[in-house]
């Protein structure tokens, strides 16, 4: 636990030192403005809930992809990974502490985007409070699990770093964060179903509607399951990395 908290503390220091880490807090409200303008111009105030949810996913995904995803890679570039691995505390706990902090920080974007909605004269009503809250909690956990998978995979596969720069909008489309998956072409939907964002975004939007939420348990379970898969892949990849680099002595250079 101490290692986890130490990871969280160091991540907070990074936020202060590197303004790039704060990019989503500037872009999420702007995306919110864009979506609100689109729906207002189209006279579709009934869709403003969509406009409030989507920027939150954009912020959280950015945090997972760029802040958390690069965690291990940056430790290597900074030359600190050897000390981190050699320390008696758990390497995974420190990394997971950093990733969790980053993910939790993404919650700020909820407040930002909903303030923007108010500025556009819209009040977001949460009709199913507990379901909405449960979805947020499980989504954050799934996001942290996915981020760990990315952090490990980016170290294992060098090309993945280049691809990470491009892994934003493809997942926004597949995850149906603004436009529901049901409007995507049929051949894309099976792919979307294995992206946890699609289940999560659907549930959050359902939480804003007054109609009952169908199959809530199953859908929430899918968010948790897919997030757990990410965590499993991340933990396995981290185990492989540490075993490999300890054996070859190339911890900082592979």
């Amino acid at each position: 636990m101490r290692a986890f908290l130490a990871g969280a503390r160091i991540q907070l220091s990074f936020f202060r030192a590197y303004p790039d880490a704060l990019i989503p807090f500037f872009t999420a409200p702007m995306f919110s403005v864009i979506f609100q303008m689109i729906f207002k111009h189209a006279g579709r105030q009934d869709l403003t809930g969509y406009a409030a949810v989507a920027p939150v996913f954009i912020a959280l995904w950015w945090m997972a992809l760029f802040n958390s995803g690069w965690t291990i890679t940056i430790e290597r570039w900074n030359g600190t990974i050897e000390m981190l691995v050699a320390a008696p505390s758990s390497f995974a706990a420190v990394i997971f502490g950093r990733i969790t902090t980053t993910t939790l920080a993404g919650v700020v974007s909820f407040g930002e985007t909903w303030i923007v909605a108010r500025l556009f004269g819209t009040t977001i009503h949460i009709e199913h409070g507990w379901a909405f809250l449960a979805t947020i909690v499980v989504t954050l956990a799934a996001m942290a699990g996915t981020a760990l998978a990315m952090a490990s995979l980016f170290v294992l596969a060098r090309n993945a770093v280049t691809f990470s720069n491009s892994a934003s909008f493809p997942f926004y489309v597949l995850g149906g964060i603004l436009v529901p998956v049901s409007l995507l072409p049929h051949w894309v939907r099976p792919i979307s179903s294995i992206v946890f964002l699609s289940w999560s975004a659907d549930l959050l939007r359902a939480g804003l509607r007054s109609t009952p939420i169908h199959d809530f348990g199953f859908r929430l379970g899918m968010v948790g399951f897919l997030g757990a898969c990410g965590l499993g892949v991340g933990a396995w990849a981290m185990h492989v990395i540490l075993r490999r680099v300890r054996g070859t002595g190339e911890l900082g250079t592979t």
Binding site: P19, D20, I23, M30, I34, A42, N165, V173
Partner: protein, 267 residues
């Protein structure tokens, strides 16, 4: 004449150097499966909002706007090249050389802008038919130089901003990302300029992209040539103003950095 040749030579070397940087970052495979997939997804993401609104006209409006914005977005990414000079430790060498740094900086990221223009056109012409957009031939060919004009205009704006932030390398990512999303919000990309309050519409018209995008929309929907010409002329004017500002201020920002020692080697 001699000075002009020397400047052209410096600009050419800067372009070649930048292009080599670019191909060190991207292979053809990572360009296609990384950048290209992202760009197609980005344009599709917004075009699909039109499907959500059940409006073909909105779908096509979003598609054209968000395809063309890719040219401006890439031009803004060129700002990263400026600060990369600092990161690489080559900025001080550049300052010590007799050539004007602004020539190098203005040429260093041209390839990023060119790639952005190419990507924007690719996105427009690949996704257009997929979303039911009809391109009137041969007038649609005019979209190519107009997209280039948008790219150049955004690039001049980007070079100006690069000078402003030269002392604050750590903020480059923040500025680049915030600026491109702001352009998406303010330049008539997703709603017509007429939707903005008049004071905001004026600001919008002074930014790169807005006027050029309207010219492109006019070309595609068969608007009057006079309207196309007026919008294209306005974009050209915006380009000239931002380029002049960049050329006039870059040296000032650099000298300020030299005076207070903030243009360090590889901070």
């Amino acid at each position: 004449m001699k000075n002009l040749t020397a400047t052209a030579r410096v600009a050419w070397y800067a372009i070649v150097s930048g292009a080599n940087d670019y191909w060190a970052i991207f292979t053809l495979k990572s360009w296609i499966f990384g950048w290209c997939v992202r760009m197609i997804s980005q344009v599709s993401f917004f075009a699909l909002i039109g499907k959500l609104l059940q409006s073909d006209a909105q779908t096509q409006f979003f598609l054209i706007g968000n395809a063309v914005v890719v040219a401006a977005q890439a031009a803004l990414f060129a700002m990263n090249m400026t600060t990369a000079e600092r990161g690489n430790g080559t900025l001080s060498l550049l300052l010590a050389s007799p050539s004007r740094p602004v020539v190098v900086f203005a040429a260093r990221g041209v390839y990023v802008m060119a790639d952005g223009v190419f990507s924007a056109l690719l996105g427009l012409f690949i996704l257009g038919p997929a979303f039911g957009l009809h391109f009137p031939f041969p007038r649609v060919l005019l979209v190519i130089p107009l997209t280039l004009l948008v790219g150049l205009s955004a690039y001049a704006f980007s070079t100006f901003l690069a000078g402003v932030i030269i002392k604050r390398r750590e903020t480059t990512g923040l500025i680049v990302n915030s600026t491109y999303v702001t352009l998406m919000a303010l330049c008539g990309v997703n709603v017509p300029v007429s939707f903005y309050p008049s004071w905001l519409a004026w600001i919008s018209r002074c930014l790169p992209l807005t006027n050029g995008l309207e010219a492109i929309r006019d070309v595609v929907k068969g608007g009057a040539w006079s309207s196309v010409g007026a919008h294209a002329g306005a974009e050209l004017l915006v380009l000239s103003v931002w380029l002049s500002l960049a050329l006039a201020t870059f040296g000032i920002f650099m000298r300020a950095g030299q005076r207070d020692g903030s243009l360090d080697y590889a901070s």
